[in-house]
């Protein structure tokens, strides 16, 4: 942790700006995905889960069959996306939010991997093979985990400075 702080502190202005902008763009995307789901009472993850293919499809489809599980998945998605988005945007608990974002995107990727031979009934908005936008966004979060910025530009800076939150990198 300490090393990461010191390293991060060595960013040049352009590097820092680029990383912060990347963090805010990913945060914005998460936040909007979450907020639209919360404000749409009709939204549910069911069709996404039902359409699952690949290695873990059985698990995801089982979730879709259980109304209780679906409610939990729906709430976790809605609030997970919103809170991660908010955190990345304003730079608070940035490290936790980045890790949570990676986990969430990994689940999305594994639920519907764009592997050759897998067909989905829900249309995608682009053309993908193995790599899709979910994976690219996931990689962006891995970059932000390796090169953190919350303690430089973001609310985490206040906690780092006052020494109250070591976690906040």
């Amino acid at each position: 942790m300490r090393r990461a702080h010191v390293d991060a502190a060595q960013y040049g202005g352009f590097q820092l700006t680029a990383l912060v902008v990347l963090r805010m763009l990913v945060g914005w995307h998460f936040l909007y995905e979450g907020v639209t789901k919360i404000t749409n009472p009709q939204w549910t993850s069911v069709s996404y889960l039902q359409d699952s293919q690949g290695w873990f499809s059985e698990t995801f489809r089982d979730l879709a069959l259980n109304p209780g599980a679906v409610s939990v998945v729906d709430v976790l998605n809605e609030w997970g996306l919103t809170l991660i988005g908010l955190a990345l945007l304003v730079g608070i608990l940035t490290r936790t939010a980045t890790v949570a974002g990676i986990v969430l995107l990994a689940l999305y990727y594994l639920a519907a991997p764009p592997f050759p031979g897998l067909e989905y009934s829900l249309p995608t908005e682009g053309s993908y093979i193995i790599v899709n936008k979910v994976l690219v966004e996931l990689a962006a979060l891995v970059v932000l985990l390796a090169l953190p910025t919350g303690h430089r530009v973001g609310l985490d800076r206040l906690f780092v400075k006052s020494g109250t939150a070591v976690e906040a990198a």
Binding site: G12, L16, L65, L89, G154, K161, S162
Partner: protein, 527 residues
């Protein structure tokens, strides 16, 4: 900027104090949050305004139908003693809707639920309201089914458990009518409906008659005259009358959203042996266990004992009317519920036995076209038992199209007069539904068997009340029981039943007599 980063590092090392620069940098991205929410709010306002403009134009509400017949629980009142005549698949199903299931069925459904937790058939059954009824009498010509009925009536494991008891088996329905039953459910093959109903009305018993109400036009007149002259409570088994989507669809029509409706297309396509009435033949069914002579008593065409005819009676004109009475009757009644069209002026029909060449008499591909010149409307029914494409009931109006199934979708027509301005102004998109109603607010329910899925899709098996899945048969039979206690009106009484029967008989006769048939509204006869 590079020296700034050096300073930052120094600050971190040398001091834990928070300076003005720290606060600025900490809050640097907060204004973006403001931009985000401003953008989100603007988009939401625009979306909401668009939606409200459409809904105001349509005069509709997105909520559940305001008036749901029978949604309010009432005190159960006096116990109603029910007799069931005919305990085949339909009779057993109606027994469950009264609150009584055979122990084997409960066991099988519990197993289904274990294998697939999404199968909630048993849970829905157990959640049914206790109607405070007892099945005190049963009549079936097949010993196995009669005993099954008695076992169901006595089974305390179910929503009717408190009033479960011993039912008496009668070998003739006339003996059942002499017992102390208050009300009778007729779930026999069609050729028996009228005889039982006429005697039941004469005995002052309330009646629930499965569709088709009768097998012939003459019988429809007899039943109409008897029931209207009595004060019994009468219900025909068109359970989709309880479906939330059908009630909503009627609201859409009443609000004038569709403009002039000139064509309605309804279908019942099935593609499996069960869908073509090739039901299983119970090998316990022998001349010793089935009263075959009594089965064919009302039929002019007497034949030797035939398990095929007994278990698959819908395939013969002697006992039913094939697609007409079994399936067109449901589709017609749904349209009659939504549009109130009554009996058509003329009907033409055609079809044939094109797939199930198994010795049956009734067509397996069949269509009927009903004309309503006074309404400037055509109703087209089509069916094949060799393809299962489902497209819902389609109501085609000048201004919009409505599709009704488990959901209601209303899509503006691109050449609509009424919506022309809103279509031009991009408020209404004619390529997408402008109004959709889905009574399932959240969660999922699964019905597993092909048969169950078929009925569920058409709103024939399950519907929703406040988002909760309920069996529409149960609601339909509950409405009848409530009406017997004087607390409700039945939604498919003798007038609607007569319209259903006559329309189906016009279609059947148009096919069998190979001509266009007409309804004479003065003489009240098919000519």
């Amino acid at each position: 900027m590079s020296d700034e980063s050096v300073k930052d590092t120094e600050g971190q090392v040398e001091s834990a104090g928070i300076g003005r620069r720290d606060v600025l940098k900490a809050l640097a991205s907060v204004p973006v949050l403001g931009v985000f929410f401003a953008g989100w709010y603007e988009k939401k306002l625009a979306d909401d305004a668009k939606r409200e403009a459409i809904m105001a134009e349509l005069g509709l509400e997105g909520r559940a139908p305001a008036v749901i017949p029978d949604a309010i629980s009432r005190p159960p009142g006096d116990r109603v003693r029910v007799g069931i005549v005919g305990f085949g698949g339909e009779g057993e199903s109606l027994g469950r809707c009264l609150g009584f299931a055979h122990p084997d069925w409960i066991e099988a459904e519990a197993r289904n639920n274990l294998e697939n937790p999404a199968n909630r058939t048993l849970e829905v059954f157990m959640g049914q309201e206790d109607l405070n009824v007892s099945i005190t009498a049963v009549c079936d010509l097949f010993d196995v089914r009669a005993e099954r009925a008695r076992a169901a009536a006595a089974n305390a494991d179910g929503p009717g458990g408190a009033t479960a008891g011993q039912a008496t088996r009668y070998r003739r329905y006339t003996e059942l009518l002499e017992s102390d039953v208050d009300a009778v459910v007729i779930a026999t093959p069609d050729h028996w409906h009228t005889r039982i109903a006429l005697d039941a009305v004469a005995a002052g018993k309330h009646l629930y008659v499965e569709k088709a109400m009768t097998r012939t036009e003459e019988e429809a007149h007899q039943m109409y005259d008897a029931v209207t002259a009595s004060d019994i409570t009468f219900q025909v088994g068109h359970q989709q009358r309880q479906s939330e989507t059908h009630i909503k669809a009627r609201e859409v029509v009443d609000a004038g959203v569709l403009g002039h409706v000139s064509l309605v297309e309804v279908t019942t396509n099935r593609n499996a042996p069960w869908g073509a009435w090739v039901y299983g033949i119970d090998d316990r069914g022998t001349p010793a266990t089935i009263d075959w002579e009594q089965f064919q008593e009302p039929s002019e065409n007497k034949v030797p004992f035939s398990p095929e005819r007994f278990f698959r009676w819908r395939c013969w004109w002697d006992y039913g009317t094939g697609l007409s009475g079994d399936l067109m009757s449901h589709e017609y009644d749904a349209v009659n519920q939504i549009l109130g069209i009554g009996i058509p002026d003329t009907v033409v029909s055609s079809g044939g036995i094109y797939y199930f060449k198994d010795g049956r008499e009734v067509p397996d591909v069949w269509q009927a076209v009903c004309e309503y010149p006074e309404r400037d409307l055509t109703l087209m029914y089509s069916a094949t038992l060799a393809n299962s494409l489902y497209r819902g009931q389609v109501f085609m109006g000048h201004d919009a199209t409505m599709q009704v199934g488990q959901t209601v979708h209303v899509t503006a027509d691109q050449y609509s007069t009424r919506y022309a301005e809103k279509i031009a102004g991009d408020v209404i998109d004619p390529t997408r539904p402008m109004f959709s109603y889905n009574p399932r607010t959240s969660g999922v329910d699964a019905v597993t068997s092909a048969t169950a899925a078929y009925f569920a899709q058409r709103g024939l098996l399950y519907t929703y009340r406040d988002g909760k899945m309920v069996n529409s048969y149960h609601l339909h039979i509950k409405e009848w029981i409530d009406a017997i206690r004087g607390n409700a009106e039945t939604s498919c009484g003798i007038e609607r039943g007569f319209e259903e029967a006559i329309t189906c008989h016009m279609a059947t006769r148009a096919y069998r007599e190979n001509r266009k048939v007409r309804w004479d509204p003065v003489a009240r006869r098919i000519v």
